[in-house]
C-alpha cells in the first residue's frame, strides 16, 4: 500500500508540474515535451489502476502519434522555436480565475461525494481479453461508429489541409 501511494505521489507531482509547464512555458517545443511527461504519467496511473491495455494504448497512440502530430504541426506552421514571449493572450487573468473557480467547485464536489472512499484493492485485475470481450460484445456498435469516425476524420483532415 505504501508503495502504491508513494509511486502515486511521485507520478502525480510530476504530472502536475508538467501540466502547469505545458500551459505556461514560453517555448512551444518544450510545451510539447512537457505534454509527453503528462501523458506518460497518465499511462503510469493506468498501470496503477490495473488498466494495462489502456496504458499501452495510451502510450502508443497519444505519445506515439498525437504528440508527433503536434510536433509536425509546429513545424508546418513555423511555430516560433525557442523562447517566445508571444504565446499567451491577454485574458490570462480571467482564465486563471475561471480555472481556479472551476477547480474549487470540482474539489468541493469531489470532497463532498467521495471524501473517504477507498479503492478496493483485492479486485481481480482485468485482462486485455476482458477489454476485448467487452468492446466486441457489449460495445460493438460504438466501436464501429468510432471506426467510421476515424475514417471521417481522416478524410476530413485530408480535405481541409490539401492545397488547391
Amino acid at each position: 500500500m505504501v508503495a502504491q501511494n508513494a509511486i502515486f505521489a511521485i507520478i502525480a507531482l510530476a504530472m502536475g508540474v508538467a501540466a502547469v509547464r505545458v500551459v505556461t512555458t514560453k517555448n512551444i517545443v518544450h510545451a510539447a515535451l512537457y505534454l509527453v511527461v503528462v501523458l506518460a504519467g497518465v499511462a503510469a496511473l493506468y498501470i496503477l489502476l490495473a488498466a494495462e491495455f489502456t496504458a499501452v494504448v495510451q502510450v502508443l497512440v497519444y505519445i506515439g502519434a498525437i504528440v508527433v502530430l503536434f510536433l509536425f504541426g509546429m513545424m508546418l506552421t513555423r511555430a516560433p522555436l525557442g523562447l517566445s514571449a508571444d504565446l499567451d493572450n491577454d485574458q490570462r487573468g480571467l482564465s486563471l480565475v475561471v480555472a481556479l473557480f472551476l477547480f474549487g467547485v470540482l474539489a468541493a464536489v469531489l470532497h463532498d461525494a467521495y471524501g473517504s472512499t477507498e479503492l478496493p484493492s483485492d479486485n481481480p485485475v482485468p485482462t486485455s481479453a476482458d477489454v476485448g470481450n467487452s468492446i466486441f460484445q457489449d460495445y460493438l456498435v460504438p466501436f464501429e461508429v468510432v471506426s467510421v469516425l476515424l475514417l471521417a476524420a481522416l478524410i476530413g483532415a485530408v480535405v481541409i489541409a490539401r492545397r488547391d
Binding site: 493572450n89 485574458q91 480571467l94 480555472a99 472551476l102 468541493a108
Partner: protein
C-alpha cells in the same frame, strides 16, 4: 252672411294681392280694386248687420261656467233658423250645411255630457243668483282648424256677435269713404298704388281682428294693423321726419304689444289651454282662472291697450303719426286702428271685469288710465298750431273716454262712443285734409283763417263734426258721451268729474280750432277754393251720420245696446242704468260752457290774452304743454338714449370682453392644450418612450456587442465561467 262672414275680410286681402300685382297697369292705378273691394265689403257688412238685427233674441245667457253646455245644447235648435236665413243670401251647398250641423252635433254631444253633470249644479246656482238676464242674440261662430300643435288646435274663424257686426260695418264704412277720398286727395302721389295696397291690407287686418273668434287671430290682425300703420305713416319716407314718426309709432305700440303677448299667454294657460275668446271670458267670469293669473293677464293686456290706443303714458306716438297722409290719419288713427285697444278690452271684458272688479265701483286701473288720458291730452290740444295735431290729441282724449267708460262698467257706452267717434273724428280729419288740399299746409296760425268763405262745404261739415265732438244735443257725441257720464255716475263719481271736465275742454279747444281755421282773416298764400266732389262727398256723408248716428242708442230707442249686448256682458252682470235727464243737462252745459269760453276768448277777445307774456307761471305751464310734458324727452333721450348709450356700450363691452373673451379664451386654451399635448406629451413623452425603446435596444446592442470580439477563446472563457457559476450554484443550493 253671418255664417260666411269670412268673406268680408277676404275681400280686402284679395284686393291687396291684386293691387300689388296688377295695380300699376290699371287705368286708375289700382284704386278701382281697392274701392271696389271695400265697397263690396261694406255692402256685405250691411247685409250682415241686417241679418244680425233680424236674429231673434231668444238666447238666455247662462251663469258663467255653463257656457259650453248651454251653447252646445241650444246649437241644435238654432240650426234650422240659420238654415232659413242663409238660403236667401248665399249659394251654400246643402253638403256644407250638413257638415256644419255635424260639427255642431259633435260639439253638442260633448257639451251635453258635461252639461248633464253641471246641469243640476247650474240650476241651483241660478236660483241663488239674481241674474236679471235678458235674452240676447246668440253669436254665430264658424271655425276651421288651421293647424294643431302640441295637443292644442289652432282655429281660424269668425265670431259674429253684435259688437263684431257693428264694428265691421264701421270699419268698412270709414274705409270705403277714405278710399273714395284718397282717389282725389292722393292723386299724383309718388306711390299711389302702394298706398291703396296698404290701405286694403290694413282694412283686412282690422276686419280679421274684429271678427276673430280666438285670441291668436286677434293677435294676427293686431299685428297686421301695426305693420300697415307703420307703412302708411311712413308713406313719404323720403323725409326723415316721416320715417322717424313711423318708427316711433311702431316701436311705441310694440312696447305695449309685449303686454299683449304676455297677457294672451297667461290667459291661454290659465283658461285651460284654449285660445277661444268665449271660453276665456267664461272661464274668467266663473272663477276658473286663478286670481293672480287673472290680474296679471289683465294688467298685461292693459299695457297693450295703453300702447295701441295711445293712452297716457304711451300716447306720444299718435300726434307724430300725423306725418302720414291725412286719409290714413282719418282711417287708422281716428276711427279704426287706435280703437283696437278699446276693442280688446270690450272683447275680453270678462277678464277685465273679474280682474279689476269693475262692478264694485271706486277706482280701477282701466278707469284711471282712461281718465288721466282724457285730461292730459285735452290740455295738450290747446297749444297746438297744427290742425291735425289738435285732432290727434282730441283723438287721444276721446280714446281715454272710451277706455274710461269700459273702466267704470259702461260697456255699451264705451262701444257706442267708439262708433260715433269714428263718424265725427273721421269727418274732422277728412275735412282737415280738404283744408290742407286747398291751402297746402296744416298750420292753422300761419296759413289758415277765414276759410269759411272759401270752402263752405268743408266749413259746414267741419262745424258739424266739431259740435258732435263737443257733445251738443242732438248730435252723435252728445248721446255717447252722456252714456259714459251716466255709467260713471254709478259708483265712479271721480271719473264723472273727469268726464265733465273733459267735455268742457273738448268743446273749448275745438272752438279754438274752428276759429283759427275758418274765421278771421286768411293768413296764408294763394287762393284757396273748395275741394272736388270726391273729397267733399265723404265729408257730407259723415256729417249726416254724425247727426243721426247718436239716435241709435237714444233712451227709448236703445237699438245699439240691444244689438251689441252679448253673452259676456250679460254673464258678467253689467248693469244698465236709466237715463238721467239731470246728467244729460249737466253734460250739455259743460259742452256749451266750453264753446262759450272759446267764443268769448276768440270772437270777443275777452279773457287773459297774452297771459304767457305777463305771468311766468303761465309761461312755464305753456312751455310744459308745448313740450308735451317733456315725455318725448323722457322716452327718447333718457330711456332710449340711456339704453342706446351706456347700456348698449356696456353690453357691447360685455360682449367683446367677457363673452368673446370666454369664447376666445376657450379657443386659446384649447390651442394651448393642443400645443402642450403636442410638445410635451407627444413629442417628449410618447415619442420619448418609442424612441427610447429603440435607443435602448440599440445602445444595449452596442453595449453587448463589445463582447463579440470574434475571438473563440474569449467565448470559451465566458462559457467556462458560466459553467463554473452554474455548477457552483447547483452545488450550493441543490
Amino acid at each position: 252672411m253671418l255664417r260666411n262672414a269670412w268673406v268680408i275680410p277676404a275681400l280686402p286681402v284679395l284686393s291687396f294681392v291684386l293691387i300689388l300685382f296688377f295695380g300699376k297697369r290699371l287705368p286708375g292705378k289700382g284704386h278701382e280694386l281697392g274701392v271696389a273691394a271695400v265697397g263690396l265689403a261694406l255692402l256685405l257688412s250691411i247685409v250682415a248687420l241686417v241679418q244680425w238685427v233680424d236674429r231673434p233674441a231668444d238666447y238666455e245667457v247662462p251663469p258663467p261656467g255653463e257656457h259650453a253646455a248651454a251653447e252646445g245644447a241650444a246649437h241644435a235648435g238654432d240650426d234650422e233658423h240659420a238654415g232659413e236665413e242663409e238660403h236667401a243670401g248665399d249659394d251654400e251647398h246643402a253638403g256644407e250645411e250638413d257638415e256644419h250641423a255635424g260639427e255642431e252635433d259633435e260639439h253638442a254631444g260633448g257639451a251635453v255630457a258635461a252639461g248633464g253633470d253641471e246641469g243640476g249644479h247650474g240650476a241651483a246656482a241660478g236660483a241663488e243668483e239674481e241674474h236679471h238676464a235678458e235674452p240676447v242674440r246668440r253669436p254665430v261662430e264658424r271655425q276651421v282648424t288651421w293647424f294643431s300643435s302640441g295637443g292644442v288646435e289652432i282655429q281660424a274663424g269668425t265670431r259674429m256677435d253684435g259688437m263684431a257686426v257693428v264694428l265691421v260695418f264701421t270699419v268698412c264704412l270709414i274705409s270705403f269713404l277714405v278710399h273714395v277720398f284718397s282717389t282725389s286727395y292722393m292723386h299724383g302721389d309718388r306711390r299711389y298704388t302702394h298706398y291703396f295696397a296698404a290701405l286694403s291690407l290694413f282694412t283686412a287686418g282690422m276686419l280679421i281682428m274684429v271678427t276673430a273668434s280666438n285670441t291668436l287671430q286677434l293677435l294676427f290682425g293686431w299685428e297686421m294693423m301695426g305693420l300697415c300703420s307703420f307703412m302708411l305713416i311712413g308713406h313719404w319716407w323720403e323725409e326723415k321726419a316721416n320715417s322717424d314718426a313711423a318708427l316711433k309709432a311702431f316701436l311705441t305700440t310694440r312696447t305695449g304689444d309685449i303686454g299683449l303677448l304676455v297677457g294672451l299667454s297667461i290667459l291661454f294657460v290659465s283658461a285651460g289651454s284654449t285660445f277661444d275668446i268665449a271660453e276665456i271670458n267664461d272661464a274668467a267670469l266663473s272663477g276658473a282662472i286663478g286670481r293672480t293669473a287673472l290680474v296679471a293677464a289683465a294688467a298685461a293686456l292693459l299695457c297693450a291697450v295703453i300702447g295701441k290706443s295711445a293712452q297716457f303714458p304711451l300716447h306720444t306716438w299718435l300726434p307724430d303719426a300725423m306725418a302720414g297722409p291725412t286719409p290714413v290719419s282719418a282711417l287708422i288713427h281716428a276711427a279704426t286702428m287706435v280703437v283696437a285697444g278699446v276693442y280688446l278690452v270690450a272683447r275680453l271684458y270678462g277678464v277685465f271685469w273679474e280682474a279689476f272688479d269693475i262692478g264694485a265701483g271706486g277706482v280701477n286701473p282701466v278707469a284711471v288710465v282712461g281718465g288721466a288720458t282724457v285730461l292730459i291730452a285735452a290740455a295738450l290740444a290747446f297749444v297746438q298750431s297744427d290742425i291735425k295735431k289738435v285732432l290727434a290729441y282730441s283723438t287721444v282724449s276721446q280714446l281715454g273716454y272710451m277706455v274710461m267708460a269700459l273702466g267704470v262698467g259702461a260697456w255699451t257706452a264705451g262701444l257706442f262712443h267708439l262708433f260715433t267717434h269714428a263718424m265725427f273724428k273721421g269727418l274732422l280729419f277728412l275735412a282737415s285734409g280738404s283744408v290742407s288740399h286747398a291751402v297746402h299746409s296744416f298750420d292753422m296760425k300761419k296759413d289758415m283763417g277765414g276759410l269759411r268763405r272759401h270752402m263752405p262745404v268743408t266749413y259746414a261739415t267741419f262745424l258739424i263734426g266739431s259740435l258732435a265732438l263737443a257733445g251738443v244735443f242732438p248730435l252723435a257725441g252728445f248721446w255717447s258721451k252722456d252714456e259714459i257720464l251716466l255709467g260713471a255716475s254709478h259708483g265712479y263719481e271721480l271719473f264723472l268729474v273727469v268726464g265733465l271736465l273733459g267735455a268742457f275742454m273738448t268743446a273749448a279747444y275745438m272752438t279754438r280750432c274752428v276759429y283759427l281755421t275758418f274765421f278771421g282773416e286768411f293768413r296764408g298764400h294763394g287762393h284757396p277754393h273748395e275741394s272736388p266732389r270726391a273729397i267733399t262727398g265723404p265729408l257730407v256723408v259723415l256729417a249726416g251720420l254724425s247727426v243721426v248716428a247718436g239716435l241709435l242708442n237714444a233712451p227709448g230707442i236703445g237699438l245699439f245696446s240691444e244689438w251689441t249686448e252679448g253673452v259676456t256682458t250679460v254673464a258678467a252682470g253689467v248693469e244698465h242704468h236709466d237715463f238721467s235727464v239731470g246728467l244729460a243737462v249737466l253734460g250739455s252745459l259743460m259742452g256749451l260752457a266750453g264753446i262759450g269760453a272759446g267764443y268769448a276768448y276768440y270772437w270777443r277777445n275777452l279773457g287773459p290774452h297774452r297771459l304767457t307774456e305777463r305771468s311766468a307761471a303761465a309761461l312755464s305751464g305753456y312751455r310744459l304743454l308745448e313740450n308735451k310734458y317733456w315725455l318725448d324727452r323722457l322716452y327718447t333721450d333718457m330711456i332710449v338714449g340711456g339704453i342706446k348709450g351706456p347700456v348698449a356700450r356696456a353690453a357691447y363691452w360685455v360682449n367683446q370682453r367677457i363673452i368673446d373673451g370666454v369664447v376666445n379664451g376657450v379657443g386659446i386654451g384649447a390651442r394651448a392644450v393642443a400645443r402642450f399635448t403636442y410638445d410635451v406629451v407627444d413629442q417628449k413623452v410618447v415619442d420619448g418612450v418609442v424612441n427610447g425603446t429603440g435607443i435602448g435596444a440599440e445602445e444595449g446592442g452596442s453595449a453587448l456587442s463589445v463582447l463579440q470580439t470574434g475571438r473563440v477563446q474569449q467565448y470559451a472563457a465566458f462559457l467556462f465561467g458560466g459553467v463554473v457559476l452554474l455548477g457552483g450554484a447547483l452545488v450550493l443550493f441543490a
